[in-house]
Amino acid sequence: MAAAPSDPPRQRLLRVAACTGPEVALVVDGQAVTAREGESVLSAVLGVVDHLRLHEVSGELRAGFCLMGACQDCWVWFADAPRGRACTTPVREGMQVFTRPPPGLLP
């Protein structure tokens, strides 16, 4: 997967095995990201940036923790769905993901 060439941010996860599924286009904080079917939102986002969200209380950056659907610290915002776990949500074509509360949506 690749970030937009203009602004290559530091990634956090390091891919060591290829995803061979069809390409899936998503938008992360307004930036076009190409992922592959089978990838989780977490691995797609952390493949291009180094965090997933800002913590509601402290404003700290968070990048998930348990990676198995238990800690709920990887919640992100979606344009067309309730907030949810990045680690257990597969990428879908056209998905819009936000790492901060998007304007117009409740936090």
Binding site: L13, A17, C71
Partner: protein
């Protein structure tokens, strides 16, 4: 017709479902994830070209056997993947799948809900790049990703060495920092050798492999904190001789063993018992997994035991269930085998210890609850005699520590240690945060369709 609901499609749940189906039972197998396997046999996501032989080496045979067995089982059961059991109520499991909620009645319920990492909060543990140890393995197995290039595996757990070896196979620069001293490991060896010599040899082999490859590995360390701003850049620790050191890294895999996911068992009516060796609570069950009233538990959610014990306990719980329904079953040598595997785990719990004294003495400023951002000092403050919180659930109500979205999974053990120490009862059985439905957050819209909301 008898309807048996099995929750969790790891080695315990699948072994149980397989035995029940072979005996002609009607089985619904519910799994929160899309694929079976639990944590140990977690499968690559569809389309991921991950070489499982390279990842698992000697264990790849077990992986293949599990998934081949499941392929045979699947058409014979009511298989419900991507389905969360969020409550057990009135003889039904309440499930949500695809945003819709349903109540499934059952005649017998077998819970094989597995385990999650047990975490001892320390400074910097909420930094991006610090992940739970089991999670570091999970993201490699199902997403084909490493959590970083230079990874420190720290805490205390036999999985530290396994995960470090697996990461090294995929090119990561790994360091292992284990908080339990070598002496405790050596004292545990006779017991480990007597109960499961093959597994002991495997564990020693992993440590030897890391030594041979020249990977830094230190035992008996004190972890002082994870450093960095906006992301982890190093681990500060004190070696066994008392020298303070910093290991630079871009990721940390952290954990102190496993804790049972016992919330559903508790909600379904199981009593919980305090395990003094591990200092946590687990469902009270007989040697076969019976909790009473048609409820059975198996696998790590019943007692931390690893994959082999999970499989054996799944079969035993299924047999107990059949026996209780008047069928004739032959337990054979399985109960003794399970007992032996669990004795091995008792040895491991001594060789890889939960650092309870260090947790109890955590500095006031350290975050205990990462969901609600509550510090050790805030926990202690409400335990002052004049404020009256004299128990961990009262502390939770007063501080919100344990009330966040993880529902106390990652702070609960530390909160119980801090509470006990502050109240001067560290030697008594610890308090525990009570389980509450829903056991995981769910969209409120999915819960509103039901009439008989409890």
């Amino acid at each position: 017709m008898t309807r048996i609901v099995v929750v969790g499609a790891g080695p315990a749940g699948v072994a149980a479902a397989t035995l029940l189906v072979e005996r002609g039972a009607d089985v619904t197998l519910i799994e929160e994830r899309a694929q079976p396997g639990g944590q140990v046999w977690r499968a690559p996501a569809p389309g991921l070209a991950l070489d499982m032989d390279r990842l698992l080496r000697g264990d790849s045979e077990g992986f293949r056997r599990f998934h081949a067995g499941f392929a045979v089982l699947r058409p014979r059961i009511d298989w419900r993947p991507e389905t969360l059991v969020w409550n057990v109520h009135g003889g039904t499991v309440q499930i949500v799948a695809g945003g819709a909620q349903q109540a499934l009645p059952y005649d017998a319920l077998l819970l094989a809900t597995g385990a999650t990492d047990r975490i001892a909060p320390i400074p910097g543990w909420t930094l991006p790049g610090v992940f739970a140890l089991g999670g570091a393995q999970a993201v490699l197995k199902d997403q084909g990703c490493l959590i970083g290039r230079e990874v420190v595996f720290c805490g205390s757990s036999p999985l530290l060495f396994l995960a470090a070896v697996q990461y090294a196979r995929f090119g990561a620069a790994v360091t292992v920092l284990d908080t339990t001293p070598l002496g405790a490991k050596i004292s545990a060896v006779p017991g480990l050798a007597a109960s499961a010599p093959r597994q002991l040899a495997k564990g020693i082999g992993l440590m030897a492999a890391l030594r041979r490859q020249g990977r830094p590995m230190h035992l008996g360390v004190t972890l002082l904190g994870f450093e960095g701003s906006g992301g982890v850049t190093g681990v500060r620790w004190r070696d066994a001789r008392g020298v303070e050191r910093v290991t630079a890294c871009d990721a940390v895999a952290y954990g102190h063993g496993l804790r049972p996911e016992s919330q559903l068992a508790e909600i379904a009516g199981a009593s919980l018992r305090f395990d003094r060796l591990r200092r946590f609570h687990a469902p009270e069950a007989d040697a076969l997994g019976r909790c009473g009233n048609g409820l059975y538990v198996a696998g790590d959610g019943a007692a931390i035991g690893g994959a082999e014990a999970a499989e054996v306990s799944g079969r035993l719980a299924a047999m107990a269930l059949l026996a209780d329904r008047g069928e004739s079953v032959e337990f054979g040598a399985l109960p003794e085998r399970l007992a032996r595997l669990r004795r091995f785990q008792d040895g491991l719990a001594r060789a890889f210890a939960w650092p309870h004294a260090q947790v109890a003495a955590l500095a006031d400023g350290v975050t205990v609850c990462r969901c609600e951002q509550i510090t050790a000092g805030e926990v202690r403050a409400v335990l002052a005699p004049q404020l009256g919180a004299a128990e961990v659930n009262r502390m939770k109500a007063a501080t919100r520590c344990g009330m966040g979205r993880c529902q106390g999974r990652y702070c609960g053990h530390a909160a119980a240690e801090i509470t006990a120490a502050a109240l001067g009862r560290a030697d008594a059985p610890l308090d525990r945060l009570r389980a509450q439905p829903p056991v995981k957050p769910l969209p409120i819209a999915s819960a509103l369709v039901e009439d008989d909301w409890p």
